[in-house]
């Protein structure tokens, strides 16, 4: 079991298919943050407190409809988010985050099963361009022998965006972003979205090119 987890973890790090590509698992010291991503593919809500700019405590809630298992997966977990590396450049910044959490499922019929969450995020942005990638895995099957038919959940995401104008931080900032996202072995969904941020609030709206549904994300730093 432990070996499987360790192997998977390093595969994650090496693969760099790397998600929550909104990517602010940590914020400035003393900041409380609420991050929510939701679409027809699933939902992930995270509440964090940043002890340092590179370390945050986090509460997670996630929901994914699993068609292959015929159920709706739900979990809640507590963990830590870390900024492992930041590259500060005169006009740009890159970040490499690792988030780990341990919790329980609330899936119907599987309620109470332990689940581990591992997430790796990598982003780079300047004031005009933005690229981010992330990989999240919910480890559901490695804890006991009674896990036949229960699969881990993988979320892969890649985003690229640009800002049509450069605003002050006291003004409304706008980004055009294209997101590619895949949950488990499902099809890759392309979603063009608009990102807005104003001071301590960020929100995103988009619609899948397949017409599968709307996306709404928000992030609030307090």
């Amino acid at each position: 079991m432990h070996k499987t987890f360790t192997q998977s973890f390093f595969i994650l790090l090496l693969s760099m298919g790397l998600t929550r590509a909104q990517a602010h698992p940590t914020s400035f010291q003393g900041a409380w943050s609420l991050v929510n991503e939701s679409s027809h593919m699933g939902r992930h809500t995270m509440f964090t407190y940043s002890h340092r700019y590179w370390l945050a405590s986090a509460l997670h809630y996630a929901y994914f409809p699993l068609e292959e298992e015929g159920l709706e997966y739900e979990m809640a977990a507590v963990g830590v988010n870390t900024l492992l590396k930041r590259w500060n450049r005169p006009t740009s910044q890159g970040n490499f985050y690792l988030s780990l959490a341990q919790g329980r499922e609330f899936t119907q019929g599987l309620s109470g099963r332990p689940v581990s969450l591992v997430e790796v995020d990598l982003d780079w942005e300047d004031r005009r361009y933005y690229i981010a990638t992330g990989y999240t895995r919910h480890f559901r099957q490695s804890f006991d022998s009674d896990s036949v038919g229960i699969s881990d959940i993988e979320v892969k995401k890649l985003r690229m965006g640009f800002a049509p104008y450069l605003g002050e931080f006291t003004e409304l900032n706008t980004w055009f972003i294209m997101q590619a996202m895949q949950v488990n072995q499902g099809s890759v969904e392309l979603t063009p979205l608009l990102r807005f941020y104003y001071r301590n609030a960020l929100w995103e709206i988009g619609s899948s090119l397949k017409g599968g549904g709307f996306l709404f994300n928000f992030m609030l730093h307090m």
Partner: protein, 110 residues
């Protein structure tokens, strides 16, 4: 009622005249005190978004030497305004920026 009184011609200017006349500092002293406010401009590496700017503002907000801070995101710079007679060493500024997750861009100046 109060609004109506203030709207009368001459009332606001009379009020200002009274304020200046009874001020413990003469008008000249007030101007001198304002002139003592100094500024430092720091170029910051990695400051690219509103959240970065907010974090830097927050980091400096409780520094007693500061009168105010102006974050200029498009130009990646921060202008620190000090209280009269107050200042902050370059090392302290660099240290506060590092604690916020950023660094001083020493290659750029005004």
């Amino acid at each position: 009622m109060k609004k109506n009184i203030l709207a009368l011609p001459g009332v606001l200017s009379l009020g200002l005249a009274v304020l200046i006349s009874f001020s413990p500092l003469g008008l000249g002293q007030v101007q001198a005190a304002e002139a003592e406010v100094t500024e430092k401009t720091v170029f910051v590496k990695g400051m690219v978004c509103a959240f970065c700017a907010q974090g830097i503002e927050r980091q400096f907000s409780d520094q007693p030497e500061l009168e105010g801070i102006n974050v200029d995101l498009p130009n990646h710079k921060v202008v620190l305004k000090f209280k009269p007679g107050q200042s902050m060493s370059d090392e302290t500024i660099a240290s506060l920026l590092e604690a916020a997750g950023y660094s001083v861009d020493a290659s750029r100046t005004n």
